[in-house]
Symmetry: D2
Subunit: 221 residues, 4 copies
């Protein structure tokens, strides 16, 4: 593989994925300072600062949280990536299958969940015992793709036969306010289990970086 910069925090997600925190700008004090510029106020110690953060969160004063910024490196299946990229307040750079045909990896779920009959877009936490030739289909997809590349078919075209559980890698940069919005939607009972795993991992990382903001947000959530 390739150039890997150091990362500040790492969590494994799913069978081969991960979230890495590459870089961060600011912390709870950044939020406090941005809020206090409104009235040129001085810090009055940690207790008051913490209360100020809580107050702003509760009253929808979201702008001070936008000065704290995180850069992530994510490895996830394509179908998770597509849900992710609907969040338009992140900056993204992604691995392109127009460029490279290497490192083809697929997500293998541990179990199949059954369709939720009430919530039409959801699944139940009930594993289904069925014999699905998933492994065979993955092997066939990989073989066909390899053959197409070998024949000289353009990578940008050959990729179209690969299934949506193909892993991809991308950088994503987002501010704290918009990260909270992402986490609210994706670490929720309405979210698909797979992307929820990523959201949980990210929460686990940021709770130590912006503890006051995180606590204030959790209370609202």
């Amino acid at each position: 593989m390739a150039m890997r910069e150091k990362c500040l925090a790492y969590r494994a997600v799913l069978d081969k994925g991960y979230v890495e925190l590459i870089d961060v700008m600011g912390n709870d004090n950044t939020v406090v300072a941005a809020a206090r510029v409104s009235y040129l106020g001085e810090s009055k110690g940690p207790d008051k600062d913490k209360k100020l953060i809580s107050y702003m969160m509760k009253h929808g004063h979201t702008s001070p949280f936008e000065h704290v910024v995180f850069q992530w490196r994510i490895k996830c299946p394509l179908f998770v990536r597509s849900q992710w990229h609907r969040h338009r307040t992140w900056a993204y750079n992604e691995l392109s299958r127009r460029y490279t045909s290497e490192n083809i990896e697929f997500y293998y779920p541990v179990e199949w969940r059954s369709q939720d009959t009430k919530n039409k877009q959801g699944s139940l936490d009930v594993p289904i015992e069925v014999s699905v030739d998933f492994d065979g289909h993955m092997l066939n997809s990989l073989t066909l793709y390899g053959y197409m590349i070998e024949c000289g078919i353009a990578k940008e075209q050959a990729r179209m036969i690969l299934p949506q559980n193909l892993y991809t890698i991308f950088y994503g940069t987002v501010d704290l306010h918009n990260l909270f919005h992402f986490l609210k939607l994706r670490n929720s009972e309405h979210a698909q289990w797979e992307i929820k795993e990523y959201a949980i991992a990210m929460e686990d990382i940021i709770k130590d970086i912006v503890p006051w903001s995180y606590e204030a947000w959790r209370e609202l959530k």
Copy 2:
């Protein structure tokens, strides 16, 4: 299928896709009026108005073009959709395969293009004569997917085995400035042929709706 509102313009794209212009707000006069608010100026007739649009385009005064807005309905393969949704200035609503397992359709390319050896992300306009069992793979994918759904596996999970040439449908709303930016990148020699076909179709539609703006943009492009 389902509820289809009337559309203002329609172009077939690829084998089963399309772009439809659903609605539009404003025209060249909207751009002129927005520009003239700067100095409360009166219109001095079509010639001067047209020149004003050309001047603004040339000097990067992009804001007047943001008051003209288009709503589109697009049917395209997933790999085109993913390139499209990287444009974060559009509003999107897309068919969700968490909800529905119906209307599964795949894009069948007319020919396989050969890999460009100089431009590593591109393809050459040279068809490759190879015998790839593409049809068989599509059939196998559809069969496996149907079987998984029948077994009661959640749609949100079953979809992961479907290849990226699966067709999807989405609404996209964008202003004229950001549409021009999209078209500049996607109707270009660096763009993948498939998404370029969509960009060409959209240009063909808007050139009659905002003729002065379109002409001014083409001159710059």
Copy 3:
């Protein structure tokens, strides 16, 4: 004055200001269609459609509301404009005092409100009876400005002596989701009375254009 296109709705605000709805794209049906594309569902009549809008509003599914777009023309004092332009999801084009020194008008408040002692950023609905030479200051400002322009001082520099109750005019284009966000913050007890008057006028206009969406939003607000 100048080129004035027809407008769809007009409300006078403050002593010399207004909001005009210049153009609109879409209505409640647009929201419904965008929501239904998720599952390719058919309309099941007005009752179900109305409920769908209410459901989406309640559960934070904001994207379908982004396909309805409004273009406004606003005349308001500079200090209102500055609060307004903090909303970064609108497209703006504004009268520029670098270009023109004409049509100088000031906002004259009907009464002076007293400072709220609890809410440090607010005012009480208690008029203060004081003799402030406001009119004199307006006259002096206008006279000094006129003299500077006459002397040949650049308009972009001369404008700096004009007070913040100077009226300005701008176009603003915004989608329904982000308009609701604006109205939530600006038609609120925390908002300054002057900008609240503009928000009230806009609500009065849109309630007839997107009645179901408006009702659903009011219930949440």
Copy 4:
């Protein structure tokens, strides 16, 4: 005054203003890593990395530059602030004159520039020798404002009589791509001299933080 965190760089601008770089995330290597994720490529040393940055800049591949983020603290006159806040890709938090009536300071220009007769929105670099009672007007404004505050008039209302050369302070956070866009428009011959001074100061700071990106951008500009 108040809580002042340490800053990474400081430049005085105009008579009482400044730009301070408060914090930064990333550098040229961040841009390179984000670009290389496309093809999982390894760094091939500084020469190739620098060329890659130059290539991306030249071909409009702007997304890798969005992972480098700067937080600024700015002190500038209101009329500069209003031009600044039209840039909607920054996050802002500003001193509010609804909250505080302290630290009232005005910008005093060193000279009056004459109106450009060709470029109607511009000024000539020709000082005008006129006797304008600017100091008197500033004093009168300050006196009237102080009187209104003393009378108990709400700060949010009293501020309206203050002229637009009143100094304000704000935090602004922006990524490198959008900072370059700001600098292109504001460090240009079309920009007002006062805001141009701020743009020049910012360029002077970032050229040492992202030297390769800055050089690549300068070549294009």
